[in-house]
Amino acid sequence: MDIIKTEHLVYEYEKRDEEGNVIGVSRAIDGVDVDVTPGQFVAVLGHNGSGKSTFAKHLNAILVPTEGTVWVDGKNTRDPGELLPVRQTAGMVFQNPDNQIIGTVVEEDVGFGPENLGVPTEDIWKRVEESLKAVGMLEYRHHSPNKLSGGQKQRVAIAGVVAMEPKCIVLDEPTAMLDPSGRKEVLRTLKKLREKKKVTVILITHYMEEVIDADKIYVMDHGHVVMEGTPREIFSQVDTLKKYRLDVPQVTILADELKKRGLEIPDGILRKEELVEALCRLN
């Protein structure tokens, strides 16, 4: 069974003027069908305002579809009785590391989710320790989150979700506000979680370098899914990606440029090793 499935998902919001009268309806998401099987690493790409964040919020029942349906592990997100199970199954990490940490001490923040779920005290401690270990932040358990770097804060936020023992983690641009080393930290942590805990990861981002390991990529634009496929399939279409305000890793651009200059180089080069190998074959 799919862990996440959406069927013709539509989300509309009302535009209001200063007095609060409705002056129009905007479609942020327009007929999106997505399916994710357990254990997959799925990326959703799109420029700012493409609807990717609105989409992410549906997977956690923060938003409920205007039309269509979202199933999380078989549970309909529209069903009020399933609200907590849905949120527990698909944990969510947001963009701004400061605005999602509730606790004033790292370990207390990680314990927040389990507390809400009514987990017994001893189990909370076990979960907190385990999740902090999983993100490599155990030694910071007594620290104040304010003194941590952006990457560390984001790892604490991930631990806070992991402590709820979700089957799936949805990350909404978790690296957008981080510096390169923070970005690497977060990606490394996600990779480790995928390998060790077999957790499904849905990564929403506009950084292409982050998704070359993905099993599947969806590209969104104007609320639609406009491209769908493996990283290789997606990245071989450099010009189409540019049209959607996106970008590819520098190595892919270089490969594309060399191809345009007449060199015989395969499509969809993702890593520098691949390009070096292709060029050496020419040599």
Partner: protein, 284 residues
Amino acid sequence: MSIKLDHINYVYSEGTAYEKHALKDVCLEIPHGEFVGIIGHTGSGKSTLIQHLNGLLKASSGALYYNGRNIYEEGYPMKELRTQVGLVFQYPEYQLFEVDVLTDVCFGPKNQGLSPEECKERALEALKLVGLKEKYYQVSPFELSGGQKRRAAIAGVLAMRPKVLVLDEPTAGLDPKGRDDILDQIAYLHKVSDMTVILVSHSMEDIAKYADRIIVMDHGQVKYNDTPRAVFAHYLELEKIGLAAPQVTYIMHDLREHGLAVDPRVTTVKEAADEIMRALEKRK
């Protein structure tokens, strides 16, 4: 005309448990009209450094000369300096506050004591320079998209007609197209005016593409101060201080190791493509 930093030291919270030596004996000269990139790991002192350039932070010791005059001497017109050296902070859209974009951009010139007509003229000029469409001028800045807000905020600094424009990570949080647009606009600004541009960035690719010269900060000290080619030739040392070279530089080094005779000192995609083509031609 230039900015010259002479043995600048800066210590945060001096005499407390949180004391931190943020800048150590920094000596730099930035001649007029240059496009300078500043890179460094978070906490390397680059933000502290740029806040010295317009006198927001005062050095614990050392001197800073703007056009030959020490800004720390008594009676130096600080307000004047701040209009000459325009500083655009990270996420500058958080400084927007007026009812509409145009009024907000007028804030800087208004503080300079200019007449309302002159303020408006400068604001319009600045908004045009950042490429914000006219239909947004009367809109509340809070209704703009992320990229537009950022443009409006940059215009707010440009409206003071600074001679030096300092930008602290102007592309943070923008999508790839938004990032390229802003950087291209800044490069265009640099080309059409005689402004000095100082760009702080985490993206080695961006810095390599735009800057004439790169200043590398590490632990409050200037580690390198040279052309992009020369700086990125130290890519192994850069990695040790939490930085890197652009991806193409690595590709070129790998190619060389695999026996293709390319010059590894290239820093942009175009240079790399040229260099690879040249090396392959020569083979034949």
